[in-house]
Symmetry: D2
Subunit: 348 residues, 4 copies
């Protein structure tokens, strides 16, 4: 049994990691940290875990040495800036690390610093592997430090990857109109995330190239296209708990038909069971992937305007964060990528 | 007191008309029709109206002669195809008509027939005025047949109008990513509109230029631009009851700054109290216009990609349908456009 | 124009007061306080108010002398304990006061202290009138200090009042199973009120006689019955923003039929337009009173068990707090009780 | 591998059975019927199942002979009245039957006929076992016809069972105030179940002893108590998809303390892993059991009124219907009761 630690258990990604590990056959939660709740049992803060594996873990302070002694792999579910410090310490202590923050996602430290803050552990960037299993499975199997992708990037990159890799769309003029459930806003106590501020309403935020997931999306799309790609990424907040749906607008670069592109996408992803290219005429919806690792993708040609419109849906919390982190832990632990992750969607 | 009739009371636009007229100081609901509920009192199907003006109207069969005898103005809240027939009869009987369907919105009958079905009352198209008060107030004051705009077109046209009228954006490449509350799907008993099929999920539909509001949007935007405008219009269904938010992507046609465009929009709409151009840095959200006639608009320049992104929000049911219909009835009845319509938003 | 002040504008009751006063024809918001947001315009914290009356009020620190100089009536939307202090100061400064906290609701200071905390302004309890307009309109017209009722007590007392006043039910064994929307939990930034902690779930709290509204309910029911009444009051949290529905279980004290009690309730409330006794066979629901002053009440005899079950619904924020506060301000200002309060429900 | 058939796949219980069986290690869906969708693949009506086991089952007409040839066990997810007919045919054809309707739940045919309709297969009542595994595991292991309990009865009976079996509460005066998610209203296309009729509202229905689950609850509670028990059962509709929470009011029959009853409940249920008696001071909430077989129970003594108040929560669709049906199929197939059913809750 692989022993897992979890730094930062009180946020939604921490909660989701605890949930997923409670039914994992090979990885067991053995340590979880929380400054504010140290000393409490895990099921006292998450009563839904009562009676499940891991429920009796007693929360501790986040100390690298302590975690290194008790864990084979550690998940970092703490804010960027914090993660790079403890991540480097744990790495040096010989523990495998899956970082759910942005700290090791951007290969170019300058880009990180332009969008985030000064990076104090740049020397670890080269050690980190970007944790999108469909794209980097081989590298991830040998990794000791994995930068778990952001939620929006996961949906956006998986949606566009086949098109850019095959050069069928223009690399400029891409617009990503993304909508996320409210777990994406985190579990911090802030007025803007209160039920009565989110329910029965809908709002954009960070419109116009302001969201920090932009450079991460561009990094991976540029790698796919083999040329720099700039996108206009625009997020919105949905009154749902889980789910991202990205509607992605591109200009077709070649005179391909709906069925050409349908065939191309189906063929491209045919060996990846978590990517479900929907049958022609179907569109994704967030509930169809709720609580799962699936990324549902549909391709639609808008013949009136010469566009390929890609819609893709994931569960932002499972596929877009904690489930993907467990997939990465599986890979770095020598387990099958889908070990403990083959749950179906909870619908309705 | 102006006597109003309502053809088709059991849908959400009919329900909303009944709600609004219950507090209107000059227009009183005197007749309402429903084939399925004829003979019942209005408050027996809408118990929320109990004790309010109009609650005691007894529903009748939709007969033009009967309505003409009892009404000065009639609202048509029935499906397209049905509306053109009874609308023409009522018009001929001397009654003022506000049609909430699509039947008289498209000035070109060929366009109507390409997107909808054969038009059997083409001779009335020239008599109809498109009922967007900010654009056509003068014509509406003298109109006897008003084509009440669609909900998506209202949000889209108002959002783009100032930019196109002033020629600051390209007329091609416009993408409208629109999200609507579920009242927009109507009050028909269909599985896809059930609570458990809509709650806690989010889905696109009609992606890729399939939605029938496309030609209506293009008609009015082309008129604003003075040249044909083609848009890629893409709707989505929100798990909220009321509200549309449109995120509109355009290419800037001139090197204008954020503050230039902010100033242009504020100036353009300064005499229209229902258009709220938000202060720089603010973005609209659907709840801020809930139950009102407001259209909240924000303009954002994405300097990385040379785009002007407009976000606009309305209440699809009030501003996007029944409230706008009452504004139009006000105008054709010689009342101030905002008579009985100056309610503030219900938040939260 | 009557000048109103609002102490504590950042909570939901403060927000709702600002919303209601924005359309009030005789009372205008002239001062609003917030320690955290002093110096800001009201519409900068509540963008939905943009362009509406009162939107330009600049928030200030809560100073009694300042408020007394600028206001004829002041609403206290601050926590209990805080309210009694500033309430007494304002009263002494000659301002009319409507207190939305619990500080002046319980006539017996010992009861207050048993359920809340030490009362430091006991001498004002005798000056305060309990602000349920249907019960105390005459006293409220002459009042200078009004204790605005709690939300649960409003729904519970109005539901049971006619039965207890007429002696048709037992005074013991009453169970009130109450369900409230989440605005009732306040607008404080706490994890338990986050969207993702409230949406798509349902939970009881304070089960078993722990909720502080219990003595307030018992005070008024005892007055109605003319004998001490003890109730088992049990609240639950609903995933809706507004609305309380109370299901009240009583033992019939006399062999009355459904139609007897229906007639008794209709007759008892026939002069109170905000009390809607529903026709036999109908049951209340929260949306039917959303955003209004209505209290919808249904009476049902359970013949199998000899019970009278009363269901009553209000909007906890409007009727159960801020709207009722405005009704009380109307009364103490010599205005009709319903001035500025006759809005219909927003459905759906 | 055990072959399972599903009669009536288009309702929510049918959908949930398909979902659960998609991850069951020993039972595979081999046949599913739907009159309206015969000929379609299962994943064409339930796209969330795409790629999962059972997704390729082609829906057929409901024919007993056909099902008997292809199945070892058949689940009936059709309305009462319909179920008794095909259930009897399948039973006679040698197939094991789990009936999710009410047709075989009431041992006394007269009671059935008083609450439902004439029973045309009374001779099968004695063959049926009531499928509450915690109460009847031994009988269920040998059963060939299982009457799967109703959702409200499951929550109510499990909540009260330990108290009645131990004689610590009065058998009269019990009130069950129950709240159910909207999947409980079924998947039929009716206006009252539309999103915009259910969201952001809350309503009672069937108040006063009218709901058909009443006799089922009384049957099992009377068996537990050893004497007839009459309850006042009152349901409400929650704006959530899944979950029932029952708040149950009883009179203590003995001077027991909170800790006495806590100990009694914990001891009573200590060998039943799906019953989670919550630690003292905790209360259940529906999300904590979402998608699971758990029944979370809390006991609270209201010392002011001498009551024991029990709160219990289940997932109405999983534990209250389809999951329990699979547990019963497990038992009658010789599998462990929890085979394929040990999923944790999806929170949030």
């Amino acid at each position: 049994m692989i022993r897992a630690g979890l730094v930062g258990v009180t946020g939604y990604t921490g909660m989701e990691l605890a949930r997923i590990l409670a039914s994992h056959p090979e990885i067991r939660l053995t340590a979880a940290t929380s400054r504010q709740d140290a000393g409490k049992r895990l099921d006292s803060i998450y009563p839904f875990l009562l009676g499940l594996p891991g429920a009796d873990v007693v929360l501790s302070e986040p100390e690298a040495a302590d975690l290194a002694a008790r864990c084979d792999v550690v998940f970092l579910a703490v804010p960027h800036g914090v993660a790079m410090e403890i991540g480097a310490e744990l790495f040096d202590a010989g523990v495998n690390v899956v970082d759910l923050s942005a700290d090791f996602r951007l290969r170019n430290a300058d880009v990180y610093e332009a969008w985030y803050k000064p990076h104090t552990r740049k020397e670890y960037l080269a050690k980190a592997v970007y944790g999108l299993p469909e794209l980097y499975a081989d590298e991830l199997r040998g990794a000791r430090l994995i930068a778990n992708p952001g939620c929006y990037p996961t949906a956006s990159i998986l949606g566009l990857y086949a098109a850019l890799k095959n050069g069928i769309i223009n690399t400029d003029g891409i617009v990503i109109d993304a909508k996320s459930g409210t777990t994406g806003a985190g579990r911090k106590a802030v007025v803007s995330s209160l039920y009565c501020e989110v329910a029965d309403t809908f709002r954009p935020y960070g419109i116009g190239g302001k969201h920090r997931h932009t450079p991460e999306i561009e990094q991976e799309l540029s790698a796919a296209a083999g040329t720099p790609v700039t996108v206009s990424f625009n997020p919105h907040l949905l009154p749902i708990s889980r789910g991202i749906l990205a509607t992605i607008y591109t200009k077709l670069g070649a005179p391909l038909t709906q069925s050409d592109i349908q065939a191309l996408y189906e063929d491209f992803w045919k060996d990846q069971p978590w990517i479900r290219v929907l049958p022609a005429g179907r569109l994704p919806e967030t509930r169809n992937v709720r609580g799962t690792m699936f990324c549902d993708i549909a391709v639609t040609v808008d013949t009136r305007t010469g566009r390929l419109i890609v819609t893709s849906a994931i569960d932002n919390l499972c596929r877009g964060a904690s489930g993907q982190a467990v997939a990465n832990a599986n890979l770095m632990s020598g387990l099958p990528v889908d070990c403990g992750l083959n749950f179906g969607p909870l619908v309705p």
